[in-house]
C-alpha cells in the first residue's frame, strides 16, 4: 500500500485543473506560521513533511493544501507539548461561537 503523499505515477485520468483560488487570510497566516515556527526552531521542514505524511489516506485526500499544513503544525505543537489538543479544541469552539458559526 503506497503512502498517500507518495503520489508519483498514481493513475489519474483528468486534465490538470489550472484554476487558481484566491487565498484566504487563514491560509496566508498558516504558510507564514510555518516560516515563523521554523525560524524559532520549533518545527523544521522535515518534521513538517513527516507530520503531513502521518495523515491517513482519507484525511490526506480530503484536506485542502493548507489544511494539511495546519494539521502538521498541530501535530508538531502537540507532540512537543507546546499546546494540547484539548486547549486547541476549546479555543476553536470559542472562536466559532464568537463569530456565530454553527456548521
Amino acid at each position: 500500500m503506497t503512502a498517500p503523499h507518495d503520489r508519483g505515477g498514481w493513475p489519474v485520468d483528468e486534465p490538470i485543473d489550472r484554476d487558481e483560488h484566491e487565498w484566504a487570510d487563514w491560509e496566508r497566516m498558516t504558510q507564514s506560521l510555518v516560516g515563523v515556527l521554523g525560524a524559532k526552531g520549533i518545527m523544521n521542514v522535515d518534521q513538517m513533511r513527516r507530520g503531513i505524511e502521518s495523515m491517513g489516506q482519507a484525511e490526506y485526500e480530503s484536506a485542502t493544501y493548507f489544511e494539511r499544513w495546519s494539521a502538521t503544525i498541530e501535530t508538531r505543537l502537540v507532540e512537543d507539548s507546546v499546546l494540547t489538543t484539548e486547549e486547541i479544541d476549546k479555543r476553536t469552539q470559542e472562536l466559532r461561537d464568537r463569530w456565530g458559526y454553527t456548521e
Partner: protein
C-alpha cells in the same frame, strides 16, 4: 551544502545503480515508483543533512552524500515506448542506491 569534498564517495558519474527496495517506517524522500529500479548516476551533488533523522528527533547529522540519478522513462512505465529517450531525474542519498553489477538488460 558543505564538507562535500572531504567525504568518501561510493558512486561516480556514469555508474549503473539500483535503488533499494525498502519501505522504512521513518520519513524518507525516496518515492515508491523508483524503488527497485535501475538507473545511472548523473553526478555527485554534495552532502546534505539527513532528512530521515531530522524529521524525527535529531539534527540531521552526519551529513549524507547525495547523487542525482537518471532513469529511462521506458524502464519506469509500461506505456512509455521503449524507443523513447525521455528520462526521470531525482536526487538520492547514498544509502538508497547500490552498484548494479548486472550489465545490459532493462531497468526493471
Amino acid at each position: 551544502m558543505s564538507g562535500a569534498s572531504q567525504l568518501a564517495r561510493a558512486f561516480s558519474a556514469g555508474d549503473s545503480v539500483r535503488v533499494r527496495d525498502e519501505t522504512p517506517s521513518h520519513h524518507h524522500r525516496t518515492p515508491h515508483y523508483i524503488k527497485a529500479r535501475r538507473g545511472r548516476v548523473v553526478d555527485f551533488i554534495g552532502a546534505y543533512l539527513n532528512s530521515e533523522t531530522r524529521a524525527h528527533s535529531g539534527d540531521g547529522l552526519p551529513m549524507v552524500p547525495m547523487y542525482r540519478v537518471e532513469f529511462d522513462m521506458a524502464d519506469l512505465w509500461d506505456e512509455y515506448a521503449t524507443s523513447s529517450a525521455d528520462k526521470l531525474w531525482i536526487d538520492l542519498y547514498e544509502h538508497w542506491i547500490e552498484h548494479d553489477t548486472r550489465s545490459g538488460g532493462t531497468g526493471r
